[in-house]
């Protein structure tokens, strides 16, 4: 089985910090980071409480997966960025390090040009954190960070 993404406090805080900066610097309403399988990694901006970020994450991943499938059909590797313009709010998605998707929701207070510019810098920073995560995961050689749980713990979850 593929080993999943494991993030420690420091790494999590680093990517969250990048998203917060991006949200501010790009004048965005919401920024969130999703892994390609639809798990929300972190979010900042209006997301807190007001938006259903779990649904957003899953639909983002579905969308990116579908666009990736379309790309392959026409002979492209993937579409690294997507932009959708709404009446009031717009959405910018970009694939970072081949593994996660950075989503920015913005309105007329910002612009596509500004968002693109800030996303580029943020992507590089997130890419660096993900590299650290990948290296650490490779060096712990698939050893579960979760090995300390017992069968009993698992049974207890289902006892009620």
């Amino acid at each position: 089985m593929n080993s999943g993404l494991v993030m420690y406090d420091e790494e999590f805080r680093a990517v969250t910090g990048v998203c917060e900066h991006l949200c501010r610097d790009a004048n965005a309403n919401v920024v969130f980071l999703v892994d390609k399988n639809g798990q929300l990694i972190t979010s900042s901006g209006r997301a807190k409480g007001e938006l259903d970020t779990t649904s957003l994450a899953s639909l983002t991943a579905g969308n990116v997966a579908a666009m990736g499938g379309l790309a392959k059909l026409i002979g492209e590797k993937e579409f690294p960025t997507q932009f959708h313009e709404g009446e009031r709010e717009s959405l910018h998605m970009s694939i970072v390090a081949g593994r996660v998707v950075l989503v920015v929701v913005f309105d007329a207070r910002s612009s596509l040009g500004l968002v693109r510019l800030r996303v580029k810098k943020a992507s590089e920073e997130i890419g660096r954190v993900l590299e650290v995560v990948a290296k650490r995961q490779a060096s712990t050689g698939g050893q579960s960070p979760f090995a300390e749980i017992t069968d009993e713990d698992i049974d207890n979850l289902f006892s009620e």
Binding site: M1, N37, D52, G69, G142, F146, L157
Partner: protein
């Protein structure tokens, strides 16, 4: 593919319900949704056709409780069962941690079940997964219908390896949570092993 976040102390896992068209995958999720406390579930998303056939996927996020201070969250997905949606099925399988195969017990669906298991095996293999090594449970659904074939026959055809399996009547909830718990448990055991 699971996501473990030590910072927020969360584990997220992905479970996919697979099976032939109209076997009852969406109905399983609808029942789970209907019977779960509001605080343990998120919104259920169904990307479906106008005739309620799954077009891309159904999605239901579920919190099962805590293990050693970690919140365990399961993301349940269904695939579209209709044969021509194969490209979409492949996408949904990406990053899967555990699979539920929902079989249709009716006599006229024997071939459809077999084709769907083969399709599952092939689509997993394309992504480097081996069905025999993945957390996997089987549900024999529609046990209430008169044309349902005997359990022994379904077992012989669909479960040669003897994975956990359950009889079900999904709209009435029979077997639904048993199936979900069995796969969730296997996923957690696999996670502990550090797959």
């Amino acid at each position: 593919m699971s996501f473990i976040n030590y910072s927020s102390r969360e584990i997220n896992c992905k479970i996919v319900y697979y099976g032939p068209g109209l076997c009852g995958k969406t109905t399983n999720l609808q029942y789970v949704y209907a019977k779960t406390n509001p605080e343990s579930k998120g919104k259920m998303i169904s990307l479906a056709t106008e005739t309620e056939r799954t077009l891309f996927f159904d999605f239901l996020p579920l919190a099962l409780g805590e293990i050693r201070g970690f919140k365990t969250r399961f993301h349940l997905y269904t695939v579209p069962g209709q044969v021509f949606y194969d490209a979409s099925r492949k996408l949904i399988l990406k990053g899967v941690d555990g699979v539920v195969f929902v079989a249709d017990s009716q006599e006229e669906r024997v071939d459809a079940n077999l084709e769907s298991v083969e399709n599952l095996r092939g689509n997993l293999a394309e992504q480097g997964y081996d069905l025999d090594k993945l957390p996997y449970v089987i549900q024999y659904n529609k046990r209430d219908l008169p044309s349902a074939i005997p359990l022994a026959e379904l077992r012989r055809d669909l479960n040669p390896r003897g994975v956990p399996d359950f009889e079900a009547v999904a709209p009435a909830g029979k077997g639904v949570f048993e199936t979900l718990k069995a796969v969730a448990k296997q996923v957690l055991i696999e996670l502990k092993k550090g797959g």
